[in-house]
Symmetry: C2
Subunit: 187 residues, 2 copies
DNA sequence: CCAAAGTGTGAGTGGTTAACCACTCAATCT
DNA sequence: AGATTGAGTGGTTAACCACTCACACTTTGG
């Protein structure tokens, strides 16, 4: 037995696997459009076991959304550490660059877009998204030292980024698409 | 007979009623989350008749999204007509103000948010949303005479506006919420 | 070695939903 | 008045989905 190691994972390990793989599922079709069978398939477990790991679909979605906010925050932290100087605009620039790297695979960003949409009608989602943005804005402000205007502009560019990625504007070669995506780094 | 007038509408009239009322339905729960019974109820017709007026749910949603883009364009036109001067920034300001009036009831804006989310996975939706933004950006540019940078900034503020409304940031009295929604007019 | 605790599943259930069809009634035309 | 077209509905169905439960297997600790 010792040589082969464990066959079963711990519930905590499984939950993390589910959280990561569910990002892709929810990214593709959002909260209402994603079914738990799909989530289970991607995680390599039975659909029933999803319900052992999470009390219901909503709790799973909320956990996924929080997970995404965590990843965004981590990327900002990496960016801040890499900044050339400590001037607010230098730090913001570095954060933006690291964020661009993070969302290269798109799934993460699409979850944010879907969460934002669901926030309008699902109170629990709204709560989580609000707290996520609260932490994000506060983090950006305190670490960069930028004033409110600069932080708002930073977030506005992020929001524009959501739009550009969601409609795939970078794949379109037309004046309107270039106008929207000008200066937004992407990898 | 003559005094009561017509009892039945024409199909075209009905389609327009459905388009208008369906905005609220899709605003609340998006494409996947909205069922056709709900749409029918709001329009005051039977669910079956929805399928006489539109070939399927997707076509209905697409028509609603296009309808919303039309309304946005109309509001920009009204704004441009009201502008104090003909300087680009004056025209943009007036357009933004009229847009703020338009989205006071939120449903219209929420449809845009949901459409943007659905655009990522539904090719047909993506096509309509792309065309919608293509027309919008081009319209803003040509009517205001602003350069690409100013137009991008205008659109970025619009995108930020989507976020602020979706999570109800204006109802939260906290630094992060004030930072996000600063200077965004709302009625 | 055995029992308790924990991991994992197959097989279901009740409820919902998009789409369809047979049909009725109102309006118009000849 | 009778025939024809178009508006509108009730009822149904096949698929789907969130969620449950009884059961089996693995691991751990005494």
């Amino acid at each position: 037995m010792a040589t082969t190691g464990r066959v079963l994972s711990t519930a905590e390990e499984r939950r993390e696997v589910v959280l990561s793989t569910a990002v892709s599922s929810f990214a593709a079709r959002g909260y209402y459009g994603t079914n738990t069978t799909e989530v289970a398939k991607r995680a390599g477990i039975s659909q029933a076991y999803v319900y052992r790991l999470f009390p219901n679909k909503e709790a799973l979605f909320l956990a996924v959304v929080e997970h995404c906010f965590d990843l965004v925050r981590d990327s900002f932290a990496r960016g801040a550490a890499k900044a050339r100087g400590s001037e607010p605009h230098e730090v913001l620039m570095a954060m933006g660059d690291e964020y661009a790297r993070l969302i290269a695979d798109q799934d993460l960003l699409l979850v944010q877009v879907h969460a934002q949409a669901a926030a309008a009608s699902e109170p629990a989602v709204r709560e989580v998204v609000r707290r996520g943005y609260a932490r994000t804005v506060e983090y950006v402000r305190s670490v960069s030292g930028a004033d409110a205007d600069a932080v708002q502009y930073f977030m506005a560019r992020g929001a524009l980024c959501h739009l550009v990625v969601a409609i795939g504007a970078t794949e379109v070669d037309a004046p309107w698409a270039n106008t929207l995506s000008a200066g937004l780094r992407h990898y």
